[in-house]
Amino acid sequence: MSDSKRFLYVNRKAPHGTVYALESLEVVLIGAAFEQDVSLAFLDDGVFQLVKRQVTTGIGVKNFAPTYRALGDYDVKKLFVERESLEERGLTEDDLMEVTHENDDEEDVSSIEIVDRARMAEIMAAQDVVLSF
């Protein structure tokens, strides 16, 4: 993996009102085939994308929230969620769905890591490619 690049997909928008969240997720899943070092960041209204028990029947769009839980199968194992963005919206880690991947010991471990704003800035600075949605 010496020639792989560090990709960060930044998600800033709420899930169903616009197409950004779904488009981002699809690009991540397609891009996962290229075996790069992929992380996802969720901040601002983007944190709503990971809220559990989403129901979209009333607005007539497909609920793609369950697809985040397939990310582990695609070897996407790092989802960073900004703590301040959660707090500003009255959310805590308990409001987020479980997203897991299998570690080297074949145990399911959480892919979600809550980070503060300063740490998020460091994560962004360490990337080769940052794609914002």
Binding site: E26, L29, I30, A32, A33, K62, N63, F64, P66, T67, R69, A70, D73, Y74
Partner: protein, 110 residues
């Protein structure tokens, strides 16, 4: 494209994937398989049913390497190799099996 089934016209996209997933049933699957020149055996059904369960849980048709990994967990090494799957579905296991399962084209499959 359209499948003619039980006196109904069931719409699909230009590659033969169902437009409305809810119209799928096992008999329609047999018809789609026939179009793909595949005779459905219990082994074919195992893969097709697995894909439908995966879609039900994750709302996504898995890419081939994700399918093989997940199948390995459920059915073991023998029934998850690329060779095994290509013998069942010669024109691409993910593509053909998804089509027969009434699912969209796999995400991450171009």
């Amino acid at each position: 494209m359209t499948y003619h089934f039980n006196g109904m016209d069931i719409a699909s996209d230009e590659e033969g994937y169902l437009t409305d997933l809810s119209l799928w049933n096992p008999d329609l699957a047999l018809l789609i398989a026939k179009d793909e020149k595949i005779e459905m055996s219990p082994e074919h059904w195992e893969v097709v049913n697995f894909l439908r369960e995966y879609y039900d849980e994750y709302q996504i048709a898995p890419a081939i390497r994700v399918l093989t990994k997940a199948l390995k967990k459920k059915l073991g090494e023998e029934k998850s190799s690329n060779k095994y799957l290509y013998e069942l579905f010669p024109y691409g296991p993910a593509k053909q099996a998804c089509k027969i399962a009434g699912l969209p084209k796999p995400t991450g499959c171009v």
